[in-house]
Subunit: 307 residues, 2 copies
């Protein structure tokens, strides 16, 4: 690879002039300018990004740590993020993590000057203590300052409204395993029930079970009657549908399943109603936070998506 010296020599100017021409700064005689551009063209010269980074004290890399548990969801975020980042000429350094330990590990490995900022996406486990400046997207627990979250209250409310409008008033909920998201979802759920004058039945809510399978099992075993089931995302919904069918609880005839996050539906989508979040918006806001254009938390509303 040719470097700035090669170009300078060929163009018969100094390194400084080459740098000036290619970095946009004006105050260069048109003649030298052309000479530099020609030389660069001939040598197929690209300024070395690493040297630029060292000099400017800023790589243009953003570290993105993506939770693996709900990959289908996270992938949508990845795409949306990459799109926004590349619009800002930023690069996306990717890492996966499936628990607090590996997350922490990833954060440390990316904290050696290689990245200008970090994002954590879709972590559904309790987050460890993280550096304040990390941006959280759709994580359970906004322990850090900067975050973009989904409006869980609104989602749960909307879901309940929809189900009630479908004459399903015995609505079960398999909630998040904890964190603020769980609390907010519960709030929305209760609030909406209240609006419809449906009594709240504690037995219809399952929380803190290790898997949907177990949670749903517990719900069914309890013998409580339900005509609808709220779950936190599409993959849970898929699993729920299969299980319910096995138990002769046909979907949607006997039980209507509702996904509280169907943001990244597959092409051959299911007919399960869901709340869909605007991934582009979320990514855009996240990038704004990253680039320091704003500093606070940000809540995004999804919209009802029915077949």
């Amino acid at each position: 690879m040719s470097n700035i010296n090669d170009v300078a020599r060929l163009a018969q100017v100094s390194k400084a002039t080459v740098s000036r021409v290619l970095s946009g700064s004006r105050g260069v005689k048109e003649e030298s300018r052309q000479a530099v551009l020609r030389a660069a063209e001939i040598l197929n010269y690209k300024p070395n990004a690493i040297a630029q980074s060292l000099s400017s004290q800023s790589t243009n890399c953003i570290g993105v740590i993506c939770a693996t548990e709900h990959i289908q969801q996270s992938t949508g975020y990845l795409q949306a993020l990459e799109k926004q980042l590349s619009r800002h000429r930023k690069h996306l350094l990717l890492r996966f993590a499936n628990d607090d330990k590996s997350l922490m590990h990833a954060v440390e490995e990316l904290s050696n000057g290689m990245c200008d900022a970090l994002v954590v996406v879709g972590a559904r486990f309790p987050l460890p203590e993280l550096p304040e400046e990390i941006v959280l997207i759709d994580c359970l627990n906004p322990s850090s300052g900067n975050s973009v979250q989904c409006d869980r209250i609104f989602a749960a409310e909307t879901a309940v409204h929809y189900l009630c409008s479908q004459q399903r008033r015995n609505i079960a909920l398999v909630n998040f395993p904890g964190g603020e998201a769980a609390t907010l979802t519960m709030d929305g759920y209760r609030q909406a029930l209240h609006n419809y004058v449906v009594p709240f039945n504690r037995q219809l809510v399952v929380e803190n079970e290790p898997s949907l399978r177990i949670a749903l099992q517990k719900l069914i075993n309890s013998g409580v009657k339900f005509t609808a089931l709220l779950v936190t995302n599409d993959s849970q919904a898929q699993e729920a549908v299969m299980m319910l069918n096995q138990y002769q609880l046909s979907v949607p005839e006997k039980v209507m399943v509702f996904s509280l996050d169907g943001s990244t539906r597959l092409p051959g989508a299911s007919t399960i109603p869901a709340i869909e979040y605007p991934l582009e918006n979320i990514a855009r806001r996240a990038v704004e936070l990253l680039l320091g254009e704003r500093h606070n938390s940000d809540v995004v509303r999804g919209s009802l998506l029915i077949a």
Copy 2:
């Protein structure tokens, strides 16, 4: 952030000694060694990756350009790749691309010294001319030297064998849109039919249609009878199942759908039989190619996956 000078000063040694301790570490008096480690600990010092890269002329970044068209598939590769790369202390710089133009663009943007190597994953479109050293994973057209490909012949053969064993002998095929993958798939398909003494019927094969929807439409309209349908991946399969059901061609009773690549099934998996590829192996081989441990093409066999 503290730098090597801070550590040297605090440890009362020179930069070189600090570097020695934290890098190769041999030939340093135990006493200085401890002093350096202590100082580094106190200052929470991490060697600056960018400076290291500039000095060593090698970032530890691998650029991965991921085709977006079949994201569900690609995501599996992404995870597997990241895992293998991090085992080798390499970082994954992610880019998405959906056609030859954006692919080329991505390649250029990553060719400024920021990456040590590049990978393209899952490109289902004809590839443009690319630098020879790029590694291709599961792409249609191995125009470049280094690539890891799926054994399409074997996949198609295996699929046909399975379907014949299920008494389905009228097997339709919606093939890849072109490239070597299409040819090989066709080869395997014909070979297996030949083995089972099933005559080859050109009408059963649809190629070069813009979407599965259209391809399948064409197949159905042609009036040709088929009791099985080979498609190239799970998302195509999903769509096919929906369409077939709409046309009263119930799956799997009337038509059995078979996915030639079901590598990244969702949790609530479907019951569609498929060929599954060992993503870990593929990623491992790709990384070997990347790190220059080998130089050639590599073909990986999948295995039959039935519910």
